[in-house]
């Protein structure tokens, strides 16, 4: 039995704003195995983005235990986190290759190697030939691919994605879902994927952690036993429907 890469136990976080306490997460308890892609799904205000920030080391948590890394998979909080947000957040004064290199520059990695890696990643995400373009020359979906390459350039063990495809149109989104599965498989990263989309969460995840708002709490942790590699026609399988129905029910939408 391998040790979990991420171990969360009873994690809570309260924000204090102007005297009022706002409970952002309560009692988040789940494990993530190395190389898993875990979806975090729930409505706005359920604390899923806050949880990512706690994992990225951007916010301290108030209570509970957060452990990342294991004996076999050591974790360096500075080097081993890659982040992708809903907006691509590319620096518009930098060419795509230079954008992808940003984390390597900040970490002071050897630039020769980083550049070779950045080029390889750009071809992995399907942006070969766009290295010298500026972000405005790319479509939203292509910019988000560049943002994924940027999150991988320093070879982090953990990639945190906060609704990365939320701003894309439905067709591009489906395409990016397939792309993400391919990138995940080829890179072998552990990925935490935050989304509003229930079917997206089930389609992508090896597991889906369901969170509810008001009060913010963790409602369920579902192992998704769909065959891999996932294909779009699985969305019509009975199993797929059962999973999504179960999540809809948990979120009080049925």
């Amino acid at each position: 039995m391998t040790e979990p890469f991420i171990h969360l136990s009873g994690v809570s976080k309260t924000y204090h704003r102007g005297g009022a306490a706002h409970l952002a997460i309560s009692d988040a308890t789940f494990d993530v195995m190395p190389g898993e892609l875990v979806s975090l799904v729930g409505p706005s205000g359920c604390g899923k983005s806050t949880l990512l920030k706690v994992l990225a080391g951007l916010h301290p948590h108030d209570a509970g235990e957060v452990r990342i890394g294991s004996g076999t998979h050591a974790f360096d909080p500075a080097r081993d986190v890659g982040m992708v947000f809903q907006a691509p957040l590319l620096l518009k004064w930098r060419r795509i290759l230079q954008n992808v290199l940003l984390p390597a520059e900040i970490l002071g990695l050897p630039m020769g190697e980083a550049r070779a890696r950045a080029r390889a990643l750009l071809s992995l995400v399907g942006l070969e030939g766009s290295e010298d373009k500026y972000p405005y020359e790319l479509s939203g979906g292509m910019q988000q691919r560049a943002a994924i390459a940027r999150a991988l350039v320093h070879d982090p063990k953990l990639v945190l994605m906060d609704e990365p495809f939320g701003a894309l149109d439905a067709l591009t989104r489906e395409k990016m879902n397939l792309e993400l599965l391919r990138i995940w498989k080829e890179s072998g990263k552990t990925i935490l994927f935050v989304t509003h989309g229930i079917s997206e969460a089930v389609f992508l995840g090896t597991r889906v952690v369901v969170m509810t708002a008001g009060p913010a709490r963790m409602a369920d942790n579902i192992l998704i036993e769909l065959p891999t590699p996932r294909t779009l026609d699985m969305k019509t399988h009975e199993m797929f429907g059962n999973y999504t129905r179960r999540i809809y029910r948990l979120l009080g939408m049925e």
Partner: protein, 264 residues
């Protein structure tokens, strides 16, 4: 430079060319109108000299054009660069410390309401007259737009980009040089352009109030003898100094800020 398709590029080039041509024509037209007005209207020379008479004033050695222009230019440049250094530094300190910003920003907004020209007599009391107090006038009037636009530009950075750098345990300096400063550059340049025009006005007002050198000083001297051509020439030279400053800022902006990010 961006790579545009061939046809689009040619169109853009010919468009730029015709625009430049029109701009040159407009300026020549003004010169011609000025000449025609003086020649046909029988206007006395002390009211409005012809372009030729104005040009001739340049050869009057008594006016020390080189020295006076040099002094005015120096005042403007010293005041302007001081304003740039202080404005950007303060804006940077404000992004680093929310408390500092909350305390000083309202104060600076109020201070900005002071008509800086009204400070002239005080500056003379404090610093006597000469190049430095006039630079100070230029500084006091140019620093606010630079400070306020830079502070705004630095604030515009997306919070998630800050998260990205912080998650990598990047330093404040890396955050500033790699994200905030280049992101704020279009705003800084927009403040610098406004500041360049104001710095020229500040220095001239300083010279009007009290000085013994400079083009503003010279204008007051020749006003007494009603040498209007020399006054015209002084105005033209002041304008040219302003154009040189503004032009350098514009050139620098072209080099440093990509076209789609410029604020016009």
């Amino acid at each position: 430079m961006r790579a545009l398709p061939q046809g689009e590029r040619m169109e853009a080039t010919s468009n730029t060319f015709s625009r430049t041509l029109l701009a040159v024509l407009a300026h020549l037209g003004l010169l011609a109108a000025w000449y025609a007005f003086v020649a046909l209207g029988d206007v006395p020379k002390y009211v409005m000299p012809s372009p030729l008479a104005t040009a001739k004033a340049l050869f009057d050695a008594n006016y020390n054009w080189w020295l006076n222009s040099g002094v005015t230019a120096l005042e403007i440049f010293v005041g302007y660069f001081l304003a740039l250094a202080v404005g950007v530094t303060l804006a940077l300190l404000f992004t680093w410390s929310k408390a500092l910003e909350a305390f000083f920003m309202p104060l600076l907004v109020s201070l900005n309401m002071i008509p800086k020209v009204a400070l002239g007599p005080l500056i003379i009391v404090w610093f006597k007259y000469g190049i430095f107090p006039n630079s100070l006038m230029a500084f006091s009037i140019a620093v606010f737009p630079i400070l306020l636009t830079t502070a705004r530009g630095l604030r515009e950075t997306e919070p998630e980009l800050l998260d990205l750098v912080r998650a990598l345990r990047g330093s404040r300096w890396q955050l500033f040089t790699k994200i905030q400063l280049p992101g704020a550059l279009p705003y800084i340049f927009s403040g610098m352009k406004v500041g360049a025009i104001l710095a020229v006005a500040g220095a001239i007002v300083g010279e009007f109030l009290s000085s013994d050198k400079g083009l503003g000083y010279l204008m007051l001297q020749v006003q007494v003898t009603l040498d209007t051509p020399a006054m015209f020439m002084a105005v033209i030279l002041i304008t040219l100094i302003g154009v040189a400053l503004y032009g350098s800022v514009l050139l620098l902006e072209r080099l440093l800020v990509s076209k789609d990010a410029r604020i016009t």
